[in-house]
Amino acid sequence: MGENEIYELHVNGSLREVRDAWIGESLLYVLRERLGLLGSKGACEQGECGSCSVLVDDELVCSCLVLAASAVGQAIVTIEGIAPAGSPSDVQQAFAEYGAVQCGFCTPGLIMATHALLERTPQPTDTEIREALSGNICRCTGYGRIIDAVQQVAVSRADGR
């Protein structure tokens, strides 16, 4: 395949070289297939489901809609960059503990969106949670336990735990 280039992406605090890649590859594809960061998931390929959510320069984006080569020079944070393996963040722990995880396919994207929400709005109302996370589709849970998990984290953080 032609039109290949070598470029570097700044992912989870490290500079990662991407070589022999077709320039038309999405950020999601490059993260998963070129850099081995499989935590970001693809489920719709058109920015409807939020499973591929990552932070690019602190902005929550659907990585399936971003060309990888266009993210050069920007700080990318994926689910793998949220917390070290085996040491879950408070949001990750709460999702597992309060029943927000069933099949788990939407979970990384929802956790990215939740971290972004709580950075912006530490004590969200029920409606604010629903609005902020409405770009993330979950087909298993019906969302009730996810909202509960987000609220648990907000309360814990307010209590300084």
């Binding site: 395949m1 077709w22 038309g24 998963r32 499989l38 935590g39 970001s40 998931k41 693809g42 489920a43 719709c44 390929e45 058109q46 409807e48 489901c49 499973s51 994926t78 689910i79 793998e80 949220i82 917390a83 393996a85 085996g86 879950p88 949001v91 990750q92 722990q93 999702f95 597992a96 503990e97 309060y98 029943g99 995880v101 069933q102 099949c103 788990g104 396919f105 939407c106 979970t107 990384p108 956790i111 409606t127 949670i129 629903r130 609005e131 996370l133 409405s134 770009g135 993330n136 589709i137 979950c138 087909r139 298993c140 849970t141 019906g142 969302y143 009730g144 336990r145 996810i146 909202i147």
Partner: protein
């Protein structure tokens, strides 16, 4: 519902809600789904699909695809070494279409190449010349014989009637209606994906795949590949939801063929569009019902004609039809019935299993009818349902007696006592997101009307009609650590945590290791039909109990105690007649116990030609009440609250039960007001998440739940499954609430804005 640990429940045991063993990995993104799997030198596979609903294949020329660099294999029907067809109940679906295509999306060829983009170009390069035929898209034409057979097996997949009691009875009150349901997609998030690893020399194959039933897949794959079943080894790849759509084969045979052809690992992964075409859906249905009752509202007789559109291939249509016709009475006493049901073949997308499996279609109709009957008899929706509520010992219209716990009236009363939402009509001031239509501010609060509706359901559990869908599990106990082995597909429901809870409860251990889920042990049956808690739960419980017997024999011999007097208490083995108390770890020191157990449910039988017979294994019940706000001028609906009480037998993991209930209601809500695959002339118009609308967090209301816990003596752990009931009667409850708010008839789901504002 409180999800707090109950005081009497030991941590991690049955009744508790411990963290599922895959929970942290899933939250950290390190859990491997089938689409995450790869291998050194792996190729990508992709499928060429028919753009026509009905056509004769005149010519296939794959040679242009071979001109593309990176293409490694191209396979068509000619390359299938074994059986050319597969299928769950009847083997009527070609691995690849050879002479005709029968639906839009039917596979014609598959390629393997170095990159997904190379695959896409190769598929584009393959030339297929079609003679396009007029598709059969109208189910009635499949029944009346006015369209020639589109398949050698004919256009009627199954015709089943039920004739019970007095066939001429006419009630004081008679109500009639015709109800329609659109085609719903399971829309699991983790797209179809697999990794196939060929054995050297093509002697066998190993497949990692997201599926609901490893052994059934293996049987069908082996036949198509002309390999002995033991040469086909399946391991469950992480499953991103299923809801019925993974019960049938999709890419399994294609991936194996490409791997065997190339001698290299092959990954396949569907796109969302391809997923809509590549798996079966919920059957669209048309149901006519006439209900007869006394003037006081006692149901006396039902007349039903029910037609399911099975699409191009049979899949599980015959079993879906069985469920549909045998559940037409709903959870109500009824002695007399005249039911006529068809599952037919058309050139629409193949339909098969989806959560609720035929009962969704029946329930939407019978609940609409019960509401009409209530109005005709001057009763309210609760009164008429309580008046007719089924009980243990009642006979169904099939003649089968309900032997399970059947707390229908209790479910209804429990829901009726749950509080109505405190949100004012149209949402709280300053909360436009709570209005119908959301933040667009399109709904004028003064126009919004509130409605309340009810839905109640009966659902069979496990497989029916003589099928022995047993489940196998093995337990090993070494040094106080239990290991469990089973082929039960974990699709998100949480069997992995339940299995650990069972082992902890039976054996008094804390550490329970789960071995890989694969075909190196006997079948567990399918993760469907609300059956794994009962069936695989029963198998794990049985295996653990056998190991416990061996442990007690061992301890009894060592301490000269009759094993019968030994018991597990917490983490200890205790002598109930003496003073011995030692830890389980100590008790099994130096010994190793291993036992395998198969759990079989009681036998069932086929229906006879009049629809009589004990065809089902067991039943569960549920009630729903929905509250909606509607803007009748704009046709916009906001579901404000769903209240439910569900007959769960025993909540073995209350948090998981809650998750099944809320998740099932979300899918019922989707069918009520959002979700439909639009198919016109056999062509799919909305195969994407942009155009196929799924409930988001803003669409889902607050769910209020009461669990009705009466352990069922027939169930191995007292627990009925909980997966399907939430989906079934939530849909009619929501539609009834919209009817209540608007006065519209609304006989079709999903209810569209135009059905409300432009009837």
């Amino acid at each position: 519902m409180s999800t707090a640990t109950r005081e009497s429940v030991l941590s991690g045991r049955l009744g508790d809600s411990p963290i599922r063993p895959d929970g942290i990995a899933k939250a950290q993104g390190s859990f491997a789904f089938s689409g995450d799997l790869s291998a050194d030198g792996a190729l990508w596979g992709a499928t060429l699909r028919s753009p026509h609903a009905s056509a004769r294949i005149v010519r296939i020329d794959v040679s242009p695809a071979w001109q593309i660099d990176g293409v490694t294999a191209i396979v068509t029907a000619d390359d299938v070494p074994g059986k050319p067809t597969y299928g769950l109940i009847s083997s009527d679906q070609p691995v690849f279409a050879a002479d005709v295509v029968r639906y839009t999306g039917e596979p014609i060829a598959a390629v393997a190449a170095d990159h997904p983009e190379t695959c896409r170009r190769a598929l584009e390069a393959i030339v297929v010349e079609y003679e396009v035929l007029a598709p059969l898209t109208e189910p009635e034409r499949a029944i009346d014989g006015s369209h020639p057979p589109i398949h050698p097996d004919g256009n009627v997949i199954r015709h089943q009637r039920i004739i019970a009691g007095d066939q001429s009875l006419v009630g004081d009150v008679v109500v009639e209606g015709t109800y329609e349901l659109g085609m719903q997609d399971q829309a699991f998030l983790g797209l179809e994906a697999a990794l196939a690893l060929p054995d050297p020399g093509g002697a066998g194959i190993e497949l990692f795949v997201a599926t609901q039933w490893l052994h059934e897949d293996r049987k069908q794959i082996a036949a198509c590949l002309d390999l002995a079943p033991d040469k086909v080894r399946l391991t469950l790849g992480g499953v991103g939801g299923s809801f019925g759509a993974r019960e049938d084969i999709s890419l399994q045979v294609h991936a194996c063929l490409l791997a065997l052809r190339t001698g290299r690992p092959v990954r396949m992964a569907y796109s969302r569009e391809e997923s809509f075409l590549g798996h079966v859906h919920r059957h669209p249905a048309k149901v006519w019902m006439r209900h007869h009752a006394t003037a006081g509202g006692v149901l006396q007789r039902i007349e039903v004609r029910l037609v399911l559109d099975g699409g191009a291939y049979a899949s599980t249509s015959s079993a879906v039809l069985l469920n549909a016709v045998t559940h037409t009475q709903g959870p109500y006493k009824c002695a007399n019935a005249t039911v006529d049901g068809y599952a037919v073949r058309t050139n629409n997308l193949p339909c098969g299993a989806m959560r609720g499996f035929g009962v969704v279609q029946a329930c939407f109709a019978h609940e609409g009818q019960i509401d009409k009957l209530a109005v005709a008899c001057g009763l309210d929706p609760v009164e008429i349902r309580l008046l007719n509520a089924m009980e243990t010992g009642d006979s169904l219209i099939t003649g089968q007696v309900i032997e399970n716990v059947a707390p229908v009236a209790e479910c209804i009363r429990a829901v009726a006592s749950l509080p109505l939402p405190d949100v004012p009509v149209g949402g709280r001031d300053g909360e436009p997101m709570q209005r119908p239509g959301g933040a667009g501010l399109t709904a004028d609060p003064s126009h919004i009307r509130r409605g309340i509706g009810w839905g109640v359901a009966i659902k069979n559990l496990m497989y029916s009609e003589g099928f022995d869908d047993y489940s196998t599990a093995r337990c090993r106990l070494v040094d106080g650590v239990a290991s469990l082995k089973f082929a039960t597909c974990e699709v998100g429901q949480g069997f992995v945590v339940l299995a650990q809870q069972i082992a902890r409860s039976v054996l008094g251990v804390d550490d329970v290791v789960l071995e890989p889920i694969d075909t190196s042990i006997g079948s567990a049956g399918s993760t469907s039909a609300t059956r794994q808690t009962w069936m695989s739960g029963g198998a794990v419980d049985g295996a653990c109990r056998l190991v416990r017997e061996r442990l007690f024999e061992h301890v009894g011999a060592r301490y000269d105690i009759d094993p019968v007097s030994l018991a597990i208490d917490g983490r200890d083995v205790v002598d109930t007649t003496g003073t011995l108390r030692i830890s389980v770890t100590e008790a099994c020191a130096g010994a190793e116990f291993e036992e395998t157990f198969e759990h079989h449910h009681r036998p069932t039988e086929d229906l006879d030609e009049n629809g009589q017979g004990n065809c089902h294994t067991a039943f569960a019940f549920v009630a729903h009440r929905a509250v909606v706000d509607v803007d009748p001028e704009l046709g916009l609906v906001k579901v404000v609250q769903v209240a439910t009480a569900q007959d769960v037998g025993r909540a073995l993991n209350p948090l998981s039960v809650m998750g099944q209930i809320e998740g099932g209601i979300a899918q019922g809500l989707g069918l009520a007001v959002m979700e439909e695959i639009i198919v016109t002339d056999g062509l799919v118009r909305n195969a994407s998440f942009t155009d196929y609308l799924l409930p988001t967090m803003l669409d889902m209301p607050h769910v209020v739940v009461t669990l009705i816990e009466h352990p069922d003596p027939m169930a191995p752990l007292g627990a009925k499954g909980v997966g399907e009931p939430p989906t079934i009667s939530s849909t009619p409850a929501i539609v009834a609430a919209i009817r209540d708010a608007t006065g519209r008839d609304l006989s079709r789901v999903p209810v569209r804005p135009s059905d409300i504002c432009l009837p």
